[in-house]
């Protein structure tokens, strides 16, 4: 039960190893705070959507299955969007449309599909592992990118200057790509074949 | 003077030093007969012949010592008169244990009786020419060693309207064809006429690269007045002598993929083969000798007319031995620098009908380059005369991807060596394509077999 959880964190980290939910990670992580916030939101939407779709159980056709997940996660994404707009207006301005876009995030859809095939206990552990793993990954990327771009971490200035172009989309791509490579090197994974069966 | 049309791609190996031919192209051919000769049974493309003599038999010059086997089979003849001292496998350039007959020369050179000369080529009975060619054991002397009578076998529905004599000799170091054209020009034109009459062909073109002006002159004089024979000078560029490139430049036609020259109504013959045809028709003599260039680091580089089966160490000895100390010898190659086969640590190798040269390289010239990464400079793509994409094919061959190598036409590669020659990163392109072609051919045979 727990190795599933640990797996989600390290070996099969959704963002850095399985490359799920890459779009928001690129756009939002210019500041560590935003990265963390969207990580939390995505984690909540993921957990709720997966639990609900787990309860709803199997639907006949495979296409219908995917459509159902999308609707469920869309609903939760809308709810999350409302909550964020109500309580943290400046965060919602910063994250922009990426909060509602968690509806179609590949992370949410793939975990929901995975959850239905397994026992609820297994599904919960996996989802929690994945959710927390994604959250940590987003924060790490946010920290690194903010450090490189603005020389500060969570707002606290550390380095004098910074490489402004890292804040641009091009910089985001490069930082995330290099981080994924380095992470894979550290975790000792050869390449994507091994992820296939995760 | 030179023909301005040329084929796409191609390279100019050793262009600065007259393609490595300066040492031997000016000297006349020297006759040399060795003590013993080792005549291989598998000198031609096709199943090796079966020997019909035992140790101890006495054979006369030109006596048949092996019977042909299979459709591509050719009879093999004794190239000296003397006593058979061994019949067994010997180390040859490509095959560590090839069946061969070793004969000790008694220097009497007495011809076997029963030869049937057909007289002058213009009057010889047409239907007898091709059987005479087969009985003389003639195969391509340019290096391919394809049995000539099979090349002349024109199936119904096919026809041939042009015979091209390949006097291009674009390979480096080799000057045997050049000397042959200077000294035997009339005999070569006779051979061409014999072939033209045998196949009822109206046009015969002798193609010679323009780095051999004296040969062009000599052949023009010999061809003057002969019906339908003309000489065409060509631009000097390797691999002009390749069958496909020669047909493209001389006749403007392109051999479709997986087809033979006969499908575009052309037959290509080497000048040496034409001379052998003339000997067979006029004097009824089989192929017993050929001219071979021995050059590189030998004391007296020269062209030798030697009997088929002479040992390479005898050839080198006849040219005054190797001129540099033995440990400095890097490589000895049978043939030219672009398509020759390296000697395997010994010079005790017999000469076959298709071997046109022995070249000795020093250690400096024979460096084993280490393959650097490809810098995608496109030189190999420019150099390939067939228009392939060598750098991409090399990746497929290295990855063993036969499907995509086939899709990118590796089977059309003529293994001329231009891409490996020009590659700045010393990548072994040609060797990979040759290996992949053999693999795909073996796969196809296994599939069919």
């Amino acid at each position: 039960m727990d190795n599933r959880f640990v797996k989600g964190l390290l070996r099969d980290n959704p963002l850095l190893c399985l490359a799920l939910g890459v779009c928001p990670a690129l756009a939002v992580t210019t500041y560590a705070v935003n990265g963390l916030a969207l990580g939390v939101i995505t984690c909540c939407v993921l957990v709720c959507a997966t639990l609900v779709s787990c309860l709803l159980g199997k639907v006949s056709s495979e296409k219908g299955q995917l459509a159902l997940y999308m609707m469920v996660s869309a609903a939760f994404a809308a709810v999350a969007d409302l909550i964020v707009k109500a309580n943290f207006p400046e965060l919602s301005a910063a994250l922009g449309i990426f909060v509602p876009l968690t509806a179609v995030s590949s992370l949410v859809l793939s975990r929901a599909a995975f959850a239905v095939d397994n026992t609820p206990g297994e599904a919960v552990a996996d989802v929690l592992g994945m959710g927390i793993g994604y959250l940590c990954a987003m924060t790490v990327v946010g920290v690194v990118r903010e450090l490189l771009a603005h020389g500060s971490v969570f707002g606290a200035a550390i380095l004098p200057g910074g490489i402004p172009s890292i804040a641009l989309p091009a910089g985001g791509f490069l930082v995330l790509g290099v981080l994924m490579g380095v992470f894979k090197a550290i975790v000792g994974k050869k390449d994507e074949e091994e992820d296939a069966q995760a | 003077m030179s023909n301005s049309i040329t084929f796409r791609g191609g390279v100019h190996p050793l262009h600065g030093v007259h393609e490595g031919k300066a040492a031997t192209c000016g000297q006349a051919v020297i006759d040399y007969t060795a003590e013993t000769v080792t005549i291989q049974m598998g000198m031609h493309l096709g199943a090796p012949s079966t020997p019909t003599v035992q140790v101890g038999d006495h054979v006369k010059l030109g006596q048949q010592i092996a019977d042909p086997v299979g459709f591509l089979g050719l009879p093999v003849h004794a190239s000296v008169s003397g006593e058979v001292i061994a019949v067994g496998p010997v180390q040859t350039i490509l095959n560590p244990a090839a069946m061969a007959v070793t004969i000790k020369n008694d220097f009497k050179d007495e011809w076997v009786d029963g030869l049937e000369p057909l007289g002058d080529v213009e009057t010889a009975p047409v239907e007898k020419i091709i059987p005479a060619i087969k009985n003389a054991g003639i195969c391509g002397m340019g290096g391919a060693s394809f049995p000539t009578h099979v090349k002349f076998a024109v199936k119904e529905g096919q026809y041939c309207d042009t015979i091209v004599l390949n006097g291009a000799e674009c390979e480096t170091h080799l000057t045997c064809d050049h000397r042959l054209m200077l000294e035997q020009s009339k005999r070569i034109v006779d051979g061409l006429r014999a072939a033209m009459r045998a196949l009822d062909v109206k046009k015969g073109i002798i193609a010679i690269e323009d780095n051999k002006p004296d040969a062009i002159e000599a052949m023009r004089r010999a061809a003057a007045g002969r019906e339908g024979v003309e000489v065409m000078p060509l631009m000097t560029k390797y691999p002009q002598g390749g069958e496909k490139q020669l047909i493209q430049v001389v006749t403007g036609r392109e051999v479709p993929t997986k087809k033979l020259p006969l499908d575009v109504h052309v037959i290509v013959l080497n000048v040496g083969t034409a001379k052998a045809i003339a000997d067979a028709v006029i004097e009824g003599k089989p192929v017993i000798s050929r001219v071979t260039t021995v050059t590189g680091h030998v004391n007296r580089p020269s062209n030798l007319r030697v009997r088929i089966g002479t040992m390479a160490d005898d050839l080198i000895a006849a040219c005054g031995g190797i001129s540099i100390p033995e440990d400095q010898v890097g490589k000895i190659v049978m043939g030219g620098a672009m398509t020759g086969f390296p000697f395997p640590n010994t010079t005790h190798i017999p000469l076959a009908k298709g071997n046109n040269g022995v070249v000795v390289y020093s250690e400096a010239e024979a460096v084993d380059y280490e393959e650097d990464p490809c810098i995608r400079c496109g030189r190999c793509v420019e150099a390939c005369p067939i228009g392939l994409n060598p750098f991409k094919l090399k990746y497929f061959c290295d990855a063993g991807d036969m499907k995509r190598a086939g899709e990118w036409c590796v089977m059309d590669c003529v293994v001329c060596g231009s891409c490996s020659y020009i590659c700045p990163a010393h990548r072994r392109l040609t060797a990979s394509f040759k290996a992949m072609k053999d693999k795909i051919a073996a796969e196809a045979r296994k599939g069919k077999g």
Binding site: - | P13, T339, P344, A366, R379
Partner: protein, 304 residues
Amino acid sequence: MKLHLTPAPHVHSPQTTRALMGNVLLALAPCAVAGVVIFGAPALVLMAVSVLSAVAGEACWQRLTGQKVRVNDLSAAVTGLILGMNLSPRAPWWLAVVGGLFAVVLVKGLFGGLGDNFLNPALAARAFLLVSWPRYLTTWAAPLAADAVSGATPLANPSGYTLGQLFLGNIPGSIGEVCKAAVLVGFVILLCTKTITWHIPVSLTLSTLVFCGLLGYNPIAAVLSGGVLFASVFMATDYVTCPMSTKGQLVYGVGAGLLIALIRKFGLYPEGVTFAILLMNVATPLIDRYTKRRVYGYEKEAKA
């Protein structure tokens, strides 16, 4: 007797990767000398620093990833020198170091080293520096001779300089690009040593001439100002990132010229050359796919 058994062919053309890169360095020499003559010592320091950082970066990366250190094929030195010549003489030294490392490690090393990258390392590094620190790369030092402290480049006020000045190069600009005469000398060197073919430089310069003319610039001044000539001779002809066939190279040149004109006319950055060539580098795999040659013995092109 010990004989090598390596397969045919047994001779090799004298041009090796190292020799080719040596030719490029030789061709760059006139521009480097001109840059130092015009801008003095800081130009020399910058070029040296960027070459060193590129070479050191490549050596460390190759040792780090356990490859054989191939720095002696001079490709890193060429990248470093070209990058150094793209900077303005007043740029700080660390800019050259960051650019050098970015070029050699991120653009080339991560993709597998020489021959595996799809963007020209020096050009990508220049774009990265231009985007990160625009002020270093767009405020120009005046040449030693002139007194104007930071005059605008010919791109900023095209009418400010006579064609003669533009050609000889005592105008503000980056180190290697200013003296067009030196670039032409380099071009001739590269052509004579058969390192490059004329297709890309000529097609790029002509298409820039035409398209800038169409968009209302004085064509000659447009070509002579900014880095068009330098880039078309040294950066656009980088083997690894330009198309293989001559047909593809012509398309590449014309496309780059068009983009240069568009970016100069409508774009934010005055100097369109960097991004134009980078965009054509990105399109090169597609150009290569659709300019394949007909194989002997086939009617139409081989399947892509």
